[in-house]
């Protein structure tokens, strides 16, 4: 097997507040291979976006990537790379597509200028070349009459159009990896379908790897080949997309799938995961999901579960891996037993 393109090893990103330390990302390891789409799924506060920002070293104080974390990319450790080296990586080898296209674009420059700027910063060719390349990229992303559109300002474009501009910017330097942080969350469903189709099509043509960060299991199912499920700053399950949807192992993944309203089912009531995600300043001891878990037992409180191997390429951070018989006896989750509130 060839070297993975990106290898994140024991990434820990903590935010040092005055009163407490928020362990937003707490020991995350994964790889992204060349040409692959990896999905990271989880709810607000699970650490998925902080993971993405850490890879690009966009964490601002009081946030800090803790020592011992390694992010290996094209033979370099991004954690210890100097600023000049990092500038060469950002937007050039790794680029990012943000959720909210309006706030990611500068309102006082034309979109063509902003796309062309990527090429100028990374020092290839003249101003004119950069502009021509920008128009070419806008064409590639399916913007109608790209020559005209390039001269317009962000407010003159629709949301879907702006997201196409961001994609053009991200792909300008033909990066090896694109991190897409909820790229379609702010868009309407018919526009979302257009943008996802576009991303996958461009990936096929350009051979870029994509790290797709989303809360939507539907988006993951349609785009990713491998999925990481995050909860409480950790990866709790990793599997191929097929395996995850066929045979989810971790109770959180299972709960997430059952809680999701699906257009193709007609259940009267949705299954719920009681309670809410705990704050990153106070993860529960042992298993971080145990309060909300219908299977948890004393071991879960005592012992922080490692990532157990379930099958080839499938891991799960749950003691059920070694005591599978416990799955037969679900109980009410702790938060319901103690009368605490949903």
């Amino acid at each position: 097997m060839t070297e993975p393109l990106l290898s994140v090893e024991n990434l820990r990103t903590y935010f040092h507040g005055a009163a407490a330390v928020a362990k937003s990302v707490d020991g995350v390891s994964f790889v992204v291979n060349a040409g692959e789409t990896v999905g990271i799924v989880g709810e607000s506060g699970c650490g998925k976006s902080v993971t993405a920002l850490s890879i690009l070293r966009l964490i601002q104080p009081p946030g800090r990537i803790e020592s011992g974390s390694r992010i290996l990319f094209e033979g370099k450790d991004l954690v210890s790379l100097d600023d000049a080296g990092m500038r060469h990586v950002r937007g050039n080898r790794i680029s990012m597509i943000f959720q909210e296209p309006m706030s990611a674009l500068n309102p006082v420059f034309t979109v063509g200028d902003q796309v062309a700027e990527v090429a100028r910063v990374h020092g290839t060719g003249s101003r004119k070349d950069a502009w021509n390349r920008a128009v070419e990229m806008l064409t590639l992303t399916g913007i109608p009459s790209p020559g005209e559109r390039a001269k317009q300002y962000p407010h003159q474009l629709s949301g879907g159009m702006r997201q196409r501009v961001l994609i053009a910017m991200a792909l300008m330097m033909n990066p090896a990896l694109v991190i897409a942080d909820e790229p379609t969350t702010a868009l309407d469903v018919t526009i979302q379908a257009q943008i996802l189709e576009l991303l996958l099509d461009l990936q096929k043509r350009l051979g870029t790897s994509i790290l797709m960060i989303t809360h939507d299991l539907g988006v993951v199912a349609e785009t990713a080949t491998r999925v990481l499920v995050m909860y409480g700053g950790e990866i709790v399950e990793e599997a191929s997309v097929r395996t995850l949807f066929d045979a989810a192992h971790h109770p959180y993944t299972e709960g997430l799938m059952n809680a999701m309203p699906q257009i193709s089912d007609s259940r009267e009531r949705l299954n719920v995961i009681p309670g809410t995600v705990p704050p990153p300043t106070a993860w529960p001891t042992g298993c971080r999901f145990r309060d909300r878990c219908p299977y948890s037992w004393e071991r879960c409180e005592r012992e922080h579960p490692p990532l157990y191997q379930i099958s080839e390429g499938h891991t799960s951070r749950c003691h059920l891996a070694v005591e599978p018989e416990r799955r037969a006896h679900p109980h009410l989750p702790l938060v319901e037993q103690t009368g605490a509130i949903l």
């Binding site: 469903v189 309203p261 949705l270 719920v272 509130i341």
Partner: protein
């Protein structure tokens, strides 16, 4: 047959576009255009559509939080649009709204208890200890602890705040609630809790909902009937199961097929719409959807004739002159430049493929 609780007829809302210091009117936005529907007591009608389709404006115009331009709204037989301020205040006891964003809809300086009590006091439903008891009961009913009455909104998570919003709406014991995207801002696991809560409350209290949402899968779980809006108009209205099984208006078909499905084994046959929703300040002539339509019989007549919302199957209304049956005769269509006679068009969207493989009909 029982009377509908709410009757809406030809509701319109036009927002003027103004320019300059004298606010000279230079154009107008047709936010809601001739919207009509009924809601029966105890029923949930959902309004779905994408941003800017007029679904929220419709919800607010019914409550007169926005004054409609014209049309008729009758609530339990009373004409809402002709009411004066005091009549309207009395009516608000019966009609309430739950907003999308639970953060901005709660006053940060008011304790949760005070916020919930406000309605009870205004409508003189109870006072003193009795009012406190009611607040406690309401909190209990929406799954929060009674002690939370003394806390402030910022102390709660998004899901809990939405529960507070629901308790506040319920405080005046309304019959009818407009739920304006009540779960869009919530995470999946919390969203399911709130959806279940809304359904339970409906059963216990016999509530009637107008449920406004853009998420078609959430809508499917909530509604008895669904109305699809596009550019200010209702383009399809049917019982939920019928609409999801046999979407008739080409826009509904595209909308349903665009929903990402959490099943990687499914082969998708997606209808991809071209371009964006046109501006409601300058809506297309004829059928508002015609520039993006994928119906094989689409022709010049679609850009001339405004399609009526008509019955295509029992209790299944859709606005499309190319989906038979239609009251717009073939002669009329030809006069308007039509070259393709109407023909039934039901593209196989992915949800349908799956359902048909699971329940084979007429198996030999």
């Amino acid at each position: 047959m029982t009377e509908p609780l709410l009757q809406v007829r030809n509701l319109r809302k036009v927002f003027p576009i103004t320019k300059g210091v004298f606010a000279r009117k230079v154009g107008e936005v047709r936010a809601v255009h001739d919207v009509s529907f009924d809601i029966m007591p105890g029923e949930t009608l959902s309004l779905v559509g994408e941003s800017g389709c007029g679904k929220t404006t419709t919800g607010r115009a019914i409550l007169r939080l926005i004054e409609p331009t014209s049309g008729e709204v009758k609530f339990a037989g009373r004409d809402v649009l002709s009411m004066n301020a005091s009549e309207l205040r009395a009516l608000r006891r019966e009609m309430q709204i739950i907003f999308q964003d639970p953060v901005s809809s709660l006053n940060p300086r008011m304790t949760v208890g005070t916020a919930i009590r406000e309605g009870i006091t205004i409508h003189k439903l109870a006072e003193g200890a009795e009012a406190d008891r009611r607040v406690g009961r309401l909190l209990d009913e929406v799954g929060l602890r009674k002690e939370y009455a003394n806390k402030y909104p910022h102390e709660f998570s998004g899901g809990q705040r939405q529960r507070i919003g629901i308790a506040r709406a319920l405080a005046v014991e309304p019959k009818f609630i407009v739920c304006d995207e009540p779960v869009s801002a919530l995470d999946v696991s919390v969203q399911a809790q709130v959806i279940n809560l809304l359904r339970d409350l409906q059963k216990e209290r016999g509530l009637t909902y107008l449920f406004i949402a853009h998420d078609l899968s959430v809508v499917k779980h909530m509604s008895d009937r669904v109305a699809v809006m596009y550019l200010g108009k209702i383009v399809e209205l049917a019982r939920g199961e019928d609409l999801y099984r046999e979407p008739t208006m080409p826009y509904t078909q595209a909308l349903l097929s665009a929903v990402p499905v959490a099943d990687p084994t499914l082969e998708k046959q997606r209808i991809l719409l071209e371009g964006d929703v046109p501006s409601p300040a300058d809506p297309p002539s004829g059928c508002v959807f015609h520039p993006r339509c994928h119906h094989p019989a689409k022709d010049a007549a679609c850009s001339k004739i405004d399609p009526p919302l008509e019955e295509k199957a029992p209790a299944h209304l859709a606005a499309c002159i190319k989906q038979p049956p239609t009251v717009i005769t073939w002669q009329e269509q030809q006069q308007a430049g039509g070259v393709n006679p109407p023909v039934k068009y039901f593209p196989v969207v992915e949800q349908l493929t799956r359902q048909s493989t699971e329940t084979p009909q007429g198996a030999i």
